[in-house]
């Protein structure tokens, strides 16, 4: 049965959220660890895709180089006909080579992104470890709220922000069960270019 959308409306018209009965420091710790795991998994998957692209590009490059080598070793009799056919074919081959090199340059950039993303996870884990060692801190929902907000600022790429938002939905960190503000709103996609 659908709940009545007005049942949480307080007298003054503001939305009152029910107290979060699921809140506990242990659950928060588990959710923060799940966030780190999800960030690592996504970074690894992206890297795997980039490596696949690199393998594909280099494989195609090798094929093209072999074809060019075989062509150069062929004995042509009608040199004039071959010359024109070769010029057109050379242009096509050049475009193919260029496309594969460009794909490889894009894929190579995975390493920079991977190290950046793993750096963010490493910092999150060490900060979390220090935080939960302080029992006074870790028992207070408002301190968790501050921790999540601080760590959320680490996540700067569109993918990191999307993962943070999806997990932060379960990080209802304050006593009223309020969720953190979504980070992924208005993020620019990969490869986008904007001139001011």
């Amino acid at each position: 049965m659908l709940s009545n959308p007005t049942e949480n409306l307080a007298v003054n018209g503001s939305v009152s959220t029910p107290p979060n009965t699921n809140w506990s420091p242990q659950q928060q710790t588990a959710r923060m660890l799940a966030l780190c795991e999800a960030q690592m998994e996504a970074a690894t998957q992206d890297s795997d895709m980039a490596v696949d692209m690199l393998i594909h590009s280099f494989s195609d490059l090798m094929t093209l180089v072999r074809e060019l080598s075989a062509e150069s070793n062929t004995n042509h009799t009608d040199t004039q006909t071959i010359k024109f056919a070769s010029e057109e074919e050379m242009k096509q081959r050049y475009q193919q080579l260029l496309r594969q090199v460009n794909n490889a340059i894009m894929a190579f950039q995975f390493y920079d992104k991977l190290s950046q993303r793993l750096g963010h996870v490493r910092y999150s884990l060490s900060t979390l470890a220090l935080f939960i060692c302080d029992r006074m801190n870790s028992q207070k929902p408002e301190h968790w709220e501050k921790l999540v907000s601080t760590l959320g600022r680490l996540y700067r790429t569109a993918e990191e922000r999307a993962i943070f938002d999806s997990i932060a939905g379960s990080l209802a960190i304050n006593a009223n069960g309020e969720k953190p503000k979504p980070l992924s709103q208005g993020t620019a996609p990969e490869g986008s270019i904007e001139l001011f």
Binding site: V101, N102, I105, M106, A107, F108, Q109, F110, Y111, D112, K113, S115, Q116, R156, T157, A158, R161, L183, G186, T187, A188, P189, E190, G191, S192, I193, E194, L195, F196
Partner: protein
């Protein structure tokens, strides 16, 4: 004389990718590993365009843009920011500091070169 591009990034692999792309298109590339190194170069030498990352040790890219705009010979030089930063807030900071454009990594070599040609 080829145009000189100052490429600033703390990641050596990114600098290599940028250098390869730009040199293949005939540009001369000067590299710097952070904002301080880039600013030192800018004070002593000239560049026709600056391409900078944002998150770097010692001096970040936004501060570098601001500092470069304070140098007389860099007031009109195009400064493109090349970063993984996808947030609107940081982009607005870059715009306010005086950046010419914002490119989100990973860059597509053809699109990067087209953008550079457009702003040079």
């Amino acid at each position: 004389m080829p145009s000189v591009i100052l490429a600033v990034d703390d990641s050596a692999s990114m600098r290599q990718m940028v250098r390869f792309t730009l040199e293949s298109a005939g540009y001369e590339v000067v590299q710097a590993a952070d904002g301080i190194e880039a600013l030192d170069y800018a004070k002593a030498g000239s560049a026709d365009l600056v391409l900078t990352d944002v998150n770097m040790p010692r001096m970040d890219g936004i501060t570098l843009v601001r500092e470069l705009r304070n140098l007389t010979n860099y007031k009109g030089v195009p400064i493109l920011v090349l970063t993984t930063e996808a947030g609107q807030d940081t982009k607005m900071q870059g715009k306010q500091a005086g950046a010419t454009g914002w490119i989100v990594k990973p860059f597509n070599p053809e699109q990067l070169l087209a953008t550079i040609q457009r702003v040079l």
